[in-house]
């Protein structure tokens, strides 16, 4: 009797191993200090923070701010470079949810878009997304209060690029309807072809 193979799934083992030997892309922004130290008291608004890593793009706002419980993600109708689409998405987040510090992590946890400049927020989002994973269940959103008027909303979204994690700072945790709208928007923004 084979003493090894009946005890494990060789295909799954190889998939895991290959994902581990792939080096993280060096072109993504490096999080120099993602850990918390004793001085970390949570996030608070501060105009001296680093500016967004993505260049500002002058585009028409995708949405007008309105107090409607439904969110129709405009980014689906605008195709273009990936970063440009993400910037549309960011603008939409600003307008619809008054979100700030929007960022996005890839399935390896690396930063692919960031306007926060806060490694600690990325670290926290990674940890929350990781902790919320349940085997066999779809990814769900989590949030944590990080200041008197600030909540970090973390939304893992399954996309053609794997599970991306969207993070944003909002004043209060988002409703399930809002989270669903954001997930839909991310899926459409990251879709390789225009579905519309």
């Amino acid at each position: 009797m084979d003493p090894i193979n009946p005890w494990l799934d060789p295909i799954e083992v190889r998939r895991l191993a290959e994902s581990l030997i792939r080096r993280a892309p060096t072109s993504t922004p490096q999080v120099l200090d993602a850990g918390f130290n004793d001085a970390f008291e949570g996030f608070s608004a501060d105009s001296s923070r680093p500016t967004a890593t993505a260049p500002p793009i002058k585009l028409e706002p995708a949405y007008q701010s309105q107090p409607s419980p439904r969110y129709e993600p405009k980014p689906t109708t605008t195709r273009g470079p990936f970063l440009e689409r993400i910037c549309y998405f960011r603008d939409w987040m600003h307008q619809q949810f008054q979100a700030t510090e929007v960022f996005m992590l890839d399935r390896e946890g690396a930063v692919i878009f960031d306007e926060s400049g806060h490694g600690k927020l990325h670290f926290l989002a990674r940890s929350l997304a990781h902790a919320s994973r349940r085997p066999g269940a779809p990814a769900g959103n989590v949030h944590v209060k990080i200041g008197a008027e600030s909540t970090l909303e973390v939304i893992p979204v399954e996309t053609p690029y794997g599970c991306l994690v969207v993070g944003a700072v909002v004043s209060h945790s988002l409703s399930p309807v809002a989270v669903k709208a954001i997930m839909d928007a991310v899926q459409k923004v990251t879709s390789p072809s225009n579905p519309s």
């Binding site: 494990l8 799934d9 083992v13 581990l20």
Partner: protein, 279 residues
């Protein structure tokens, strides 16, 4: 025997200290033996090497120094980061080889705290070690990929995974890979150098079959070519408080660790031109 010099932090490609965690899911796979002798191999080759005992069992200290129970160490720093690093570093007879014992803070148990509890202090410790001009820090961790061991791996540049060459050990590989994948989420730049087969018994068919099975199971670059044999010499070296290469009859075994060191150098900086001139 002459030995050349490796140039790690001094190369223009590598301006920072290498921190290399030696970790495994399972206990008793030879982590401490690998850590001690690999550190000694780097030090003999000229790299300024710090061996850190992050296993609360204190096996490194118990192997190499009679005073290990009196020394302040890694866990004392986690309890009180104001302790100067210089007070923790213990020199050895080999100028390039120093160690930090696990220390006296006995209230730490592997896994007793949730992962992340000491992350900032582990990183602070490694930064302090780097500021002492070490080229490479080799960290012997407790078994498991959680608690402080998880914090150490998440804080390190690289990890090497000793794996006993026995069927039971190989069967635990999926859990090991899953654990590493979770840690890589926290540290996307973690360089998983590979699995190192240990305690290989060339006269035992099951041991060799397990080694072959692992090589078939994993991508070639994920398994070190070098294998560590099961050898009574390790027990005798430990009894005398010496790395195996410092034993009178240890030259043959030292070649194994020199080979492992060369493989690690190639994996750490494959495109850098980093090389060692072997004598």
């Amino acid at each position: 025997m002459l030995h050349g010099h490796v140039h790690l932090a001094h190369t223009p490609f590598l301006q920072r200290v290498i921190s290399l965690a030696v970790s495994s899911q399972k206990g008793g796979v030879g982590k401490t033996t690998v850590s001690i002798n690999l550190a000694h191999a780097f030090a003999r080759a000229g790299a300024k090497t710090l061996l850190i005992d992050a296993d609360p069992q204190g096996s490194v200290g118990l192997s190499l120094t009679r005073q290990s129970r009196l020394l302040s160490g890694f866990y004392d720093y986690l309890a009180d980061p104001s302790i100067p690093m210089e007070r923790l570093i213990v020199p050895t007879r080999l100028e390039t080889f120093s160690l930090v014992a696990c220390g006296q803070a006995s209230d730490y148990e592997a896994g007793g705290n949730g992962m992340g509890t000491h992350l900032a202090r582990v990183r602070s410790f490694l930064r302090a070690a780097a500021s002492n001009q070490f080229d490479i820090c080799i960290i012997d961790t407790a078994a498991g990929l959680f608690g402080i061991t998880g914090d150490v791996i998440v804080s390190s540049n690289s990890v090497i995974i000793p794996q006993q060459s026995e069927p039971l050990g190989i069967r635990s590989v999926p859990k090991l890979l899953d654990g590493l994948s979770r840690l890589r989420l926290m540290n996307p730049s973690l360089n998983v150098l590979g699995v190192l087969l240990t305690m290989v018994q060339n006269n035992l068919a099951e041991s060799l079959e397990a080694a072959n099975a692992l090589r078939q199971l994993l991508p070639a670059e994920m398994v070190f070519q070098t294998m560590i044999p099961r050898d009574g010499l390790f027990v005798r070296a430990s009894a005398r408080g010496l790395p195996i290469g410092a034993m009178e009859d240890g030259a043959g075994a030292q070649v194994v660790f020199d080979s492992l060191r060369a493989e690690i150098e190639a994996k750490i900086q494959p495109a850098s031109g980093l090389h060692a001139a072997y004598g």
